[in-house]
């Protein structure tokens, strides 16, 4: 087993192994370093994307600090704790999603928040980004892997129920991420390729049905606009045209930091939130994009490695699914800003301003560090 032995050997590397002070702190220094690099670079771009508004950068910095603390706390918990709590968290999560639909508060025609007296306002759908893969991993790891069809069906149901509840809010972006987190668990668990083929077959049948019965008008509009942004250049197509213009005009090495005309002259919408990658592309060019994507790739490599050498199935499945969810963030965001995908509200992880998503993301990295640093002496 060459692949396994390779991973085992590298598991004993001083920096990656559960040793020393990092081990005591339950922190993976490589992953932490990569995350800090991304966050720092993100703040630099954010300063420009927010049009030199230092208050925005400070707020984001504070948020990042809080998120790092959350990551640290999650890293201290043993994966077994997550496993034990999974069903209960899932039950609470689904209940609060139902509550959101019934009594939630929100803005812009979507109810996403739950305001419980005495607690800070929170967004249950964000919580589900963690809880759904936990629940799915919990369920599948109770059985032999690869899972039987019956178990796959139940696992998919675990993903689809919250996904449906979130679509009802409506929040397509988050439901996509929540759903994919569950599906990735199923994939990592070893679902047969035939089933995967069948799944894609179903999707191609379901897509038209989604179009006619599930998708809202504004969502359809986004898809139509993606196909032909010029059809509505001042309306829905504006965002895509302007962000492509920002990216394209950046060229190989960009217009320089704070020199992006598209963002600073307000042509680029949402320049410090969802469309921040266009600011980076405009000001730092193709080189900047390569560095950003390389950083994401390194983070994903490190996380997949952590997943691969995890000791039990639950940890593996959870770590793998969280990593891939993170990647989906990156792909969907960059894809939509560059005009490859329809505009769905997905931020560029750890760079876009704002949101509960930063905390959730860092919590997920905390889980990964927990998986990596709570090792039992069975394989040593």
């Amino acid at each position: 087993m060459p692949a396994g032995s390779l991973l085992n050997r590298s598991a004993r590397h001083p920096l990656s192994g559960p040793r020393g002070i990092w081990s005591a702190l339950h922190i993976d220094p490589i992953l932490l370093l990569l995350l800090l690099a991304l966050i720092a670079g993100g703040l630099v771009v954010l300063y420009s994307g927010a049009d030199r508004n230092m208050a925005v950068v400070k707020a984001q910095g504070v948020r990042m600090g809080v998120a790092l603390v959350v990551m640290f706390v999650f890293a201290q918990l043993d994966p077994a704790v997550f496993r034990r709590w999974s069903p209960w968290l899932f039950a609470v999560g689904v209940a609060s999603l139902v509550a959101v639909i019934l009594v939630g508060v929100g803005a812009k025609g979507a109810q996403r928040w739950l305001a419980i007296p005495g607690l800070p306002r929170f967004q249950p759908s964000e919580l589900m980004k963690l809880v759904v893969p936990m629940m799915a991993a919990w369920y599948l790891s109770r059985h032999y892997l690869p899972p039987r069809f019956r178990h796959v069906a139940v696992a998919l149901l675990i993903a689809l129920v919250p996904m449906a509840l979130i679509i009802l809010q409506p929040d397509l972006g988050t439901s996509l991420l929540v759903g994919s987190a569950g599906i990735f668990v199923v994939f990592f668990a070893g679902i047969s390729w035939r089933l995967i083929g069948a799944f894609f077959g179903m999707v191609s049948v379901a897509a038209p049905l989604m179009w006619f019965f599930v998708m809202r008008d504004y969502q359809k509009q986004r898809v139509l606009t993606l196909l032909d942004p010029q059809s509505d250049p001042l309306g829905a197509g504006w965002n895509i045209i302007q962000s492509k213009t920002a990216i394209g005009s950046g060229g190989m090495d960009g217009k320089g930091w704070l020199q992006g005309t598209q963002s600073h002259l307000e042509f680029l919408p949402e320049s410090h939130t969802d469309f921040i990658v266009a600011v980076l592309a405009e000001e730092f060019g193709f080189v900047g994009i390569l560095i950003l994507l390389a950083l994401y790739l390194l983070i994903i490599l490190r996380c997949l490695y952590i997943a691969a050498i995890a000791q039990d199935s639950f940890s593996r499945l959870l770590a793998g699914a969280l990593t891939m969810t993170f990647f989906i963030y990156v792909f969907v965001n960059v894809g939509m800003v560059s005009g490859l995908l329809p505009v769905v509200g997905v931020p560029l992880p750890l760079v876009s301003y704002g949101g509960t998503s930063v905390v959730t993301l860092m919590a997920a990295f905390g889980v990964l560090m927990s998986v990596h640093t709570h090792r039992r002496m069975i394989s040593a």
């Binding site: 690869p146 990216i247 592309a281 560059s338």
Partner: protein, 630 residues
């Protein structure tokens, strides 16, 4: 069940690791897809997007040059530019036009006329992203209210622009003309580049004639704008060349006096400086406020002006074509002398009527009893019609036409007076062409006293009088005295082409001038009442233009006909006789007699110009007490 106790741990791990490799490949492929996409946008199509980005932010704006100012001869400002705030809409940026207009109506008072005008402009062809004015002359409160609601009103701007303002409104309207919005026809004629930032164009008068000079040269700026079209900074600027400031011959004091003299009546006064042809005053009364026309006059106000029986919009000085009547006699006297039709001493018997053939139709003298024995001097001084009937027949139409043409009748002899009409100088050919009739001797008789077909504008009468004052030397009437900028006046003022009138005996000028002086100072002069007590000598000629013809033997009583059917009172003259400083032509519509009504007006003009202007508050004494002579 204990976790994983009975599971194949190694197999499960290997399965997971295989799946991880698959995922890793997927990640690499998808990231590669993103990289490829970025490469396409940023490297392959970079030029396209650079162009799009620049087109987004950089706009070329034209900068309208400030219009040249107009001064009178004493540097009194006659036409200036004043900042006016108006609310404008850019239809391309306004989302819902109806809703926006409704909102604006809640904020500002917008009249129906404003709306109609705006709707009209909306349909007219225009440049894209051009601002369309909705309402002008906002006050400060309205500007503040708009500022508060600005965020609800995309595409609505408060814009300041320099708008022409005529501080002496009614006094100068007919002489200066006015500017107004460029209309559709003008849009096709003007240079679209030079007028790219200009909204106004000279419509009449000086404003129209010197449009090019006053307008200046458009400037440009490349500006960086943000997504909302707001200008952030100027990248590059080519300054406009402002229009040239100009100085007119006009003296505003004289112009004002002319208006005061005609106040409450209808008429025109032209004052010319004979040596230069410069128009010192060019008054047509009633006037109108030209400022009304600058930003677009309301339908109601316009209807009121255009339908008024006093015709305030009608420029009587340039476009009023009247039979010159007896004011033509000095010019005819020159013609008769030089052509040999009469001599200085030729005397005739005036029985009060004239017949071409014995027993034929009689032409009457204005004085029923006749003047008795009259020579040329008496004929002018007393305005004897019979003398001129005979002289006219002796000269014939061709000779009269030739001389009168030399005095500038029948043509627009002005250099820079836009809109001046040529009047009508009849001739054999003209009569054949228009009336398809031969020229009858009776037509010559009528022409001999400035009646019949002949028509002349007050400006033409003043011009011809000025030629006599100059003893035959021509100085075409002109408004422009100087260009205050770099350009020379010779570049912009057309050159006159009139030859001096050369007489066989140049002394005849002096003789005719003296006959005109007799009108004023002679014991029987028709205007002697108006000249009484003057410390200088003046020359003149009274006249009457019939508004409608009376049957030959019909008596009429002024009191019996309505005021508006009374004769027009005319007067031409200059002063001082030996060194003419000012020549005038006066017409008072339905004024009755030239001697009683028009001559005192001219006297007041002379006095003001030669002796000084009446002080503020001093009553103008313009007697209407002259004898009811011609």
């Amino acid at each position: 069940m204990p976790w994983g106790e009975f599971k194949n741990i190694v197999a499960e791990r290997r399965l997971f690791q295989r799946r991880t490799v698959v995922m890793l490949l997927l990640v690499v492929v998808m990231l590669g897809l993103l990289v490829a996409r970025m490469y396409q946008l940023q490297v392959v199509e970079h030029d396209i997007y650079t162009t799009l980005s620049d087109k987004n932010r950089v706009q070329v704006q034209s900068v309208a040059p400030p219009r040249g100012l107009v001064y009178d001869r004493n540097d009194v400002l006659l036409a200036e530019n004043r900042p006016v705030f108006s609310v404008t809409l850019v239809p391309e940026r306004v989302g819902d036009m109806e809703q926006t207009l409704a909102k604006l109506q809640g904020i500002l008072s917008i009249s129906e006329e404003d709306m109609e005008r705006f709707d009209r402009r909306l349909l007219e062809p225009r440049r894209p992203f051009q601002e369309l004015p909705l309402r002008y002359d906002l006050n400060e409160q309205e500007i503040a209210r708009l500022a508060v609601h600005r965020h609800e009103l995309p595409g609505v701007e408060v814009s300041a622009e320099l708008v022409r303002y005529y501080p002496h409104s009614e006094l100068t309207a007919h002489a200066l003309g006015y500017v107004g919005r460029i209309n559709r026809q003008e849009l096709q004629q003007i240079d679209p580049v030079n007028y790219a930032g200009t909204n106004y164009i000279g419509k009449s008068g000086v404003e129209r004639f010197y449009e090019q000079l006053l307008h200046g040269r458009v400037g440009y700026q490349h500006v960086e704008t943000n997504a909302r079209g707001r200008t952030l900074r100027v990248l590059e600027r080519e300054n406009p060349v402002p229009g040239e400031d100009i100085r007119l011959h006009m003296d505003l004091r004289l112009q004002r006096l002319a208006h005061e003299l005609l106040d409450g009546r209808r008429g025109a006064i032209i004052a010319v400086e004979p040596s230069t042809g410069g128009l010192l005053a060019l008054a047509s009364v009633p006037g109108f406020d030209a400022n009304l026309f600058v930003t677009g006059i309301g339908v109601e106000a316009y209807r009121e002006l255009s339908t008024s029986v006093d015709k305030p919009l009608f420029n009587r000085a340039l476009r009023g074509q009247y039979p010159p009547g007896s004011t033509l006699k000095p010019m005819l006297a020159v013609a008769a002398l030089d052509s040999g039709a009469v001599t200085r001493d030729k005397t005739i018997w005036d029985p009060g009527y004239f017949r071409l053939t014995p027993g034929g139709r009689p032409w009457r003298d204005w004085k029923r009893s006749g003047h008795g024995w009259v020579d040329l001097t008496a004929a002018v001084a007393e305005s004897c019609d019979i003398y001129f009937y005979e002289a006219a027949v002796a000269m014939g139409v061709d000779t009269m036409h030739q001389y009168l043409a030399e005095f500038g009748f029948g043509e627009d002899a002005t250099l820079d007076v836009a809109g001046a009409l040529p009047g009508l100088l009849p001739s054999r050919d003209w009569k054949r062409a228009v009336h398809n009739e031969p020229w009858y001797p009776g037509d010559s008789v009528n022409l001999g006293i400035g009646q019949g077909f002949m028509l002349a504008t007050p400006l033409q009468l003043a011009t011809a009088t000025s030629v006599i004052a100059n003893r035959g030397n021509w100085a075409e009437p002109r408004l422009l005295k100087a260009v205050l900028g770099d350009r020379s006046i010779d570049d912009v003022l057309p050159t006159g082409s009139h030859q001096s009138i050369e007489l066989e005996n140049p002394d005849d000028w002096e003789f005719v001038v003296e006959t005109m002086a007799e009108v004023m100072h002679g014991s029987k002069g028709t205007a002697r009442g108006a000249a009484r007590g003057a410390p200088y000598r003046m020359a003149g000629k009274t006249g009457t233009a019939q508004v409608f013809s009376l049957a030959e033997d019909e008596e009429y009583d002024e009191e019996e006909i309505r005021e508006r059917l009374r004769d027009h009172a005319l007067f031409v003259g200059f002063a001082p006789v030996d060194d003419p400083q000012i020549a005038v032509a006066v017409i008072v519509e339905n004024g009755g007699s030239g001697s009683g009504t028009a001559a005192p007006v001219a006297r007041a003009m002379f006095d003001a110009w030669l002796l000084g202007f009446p002080k503020e508050g001093e009553a103008l004494v313009v007697g209407s007490s002259g004898e009811a002579s011609n």
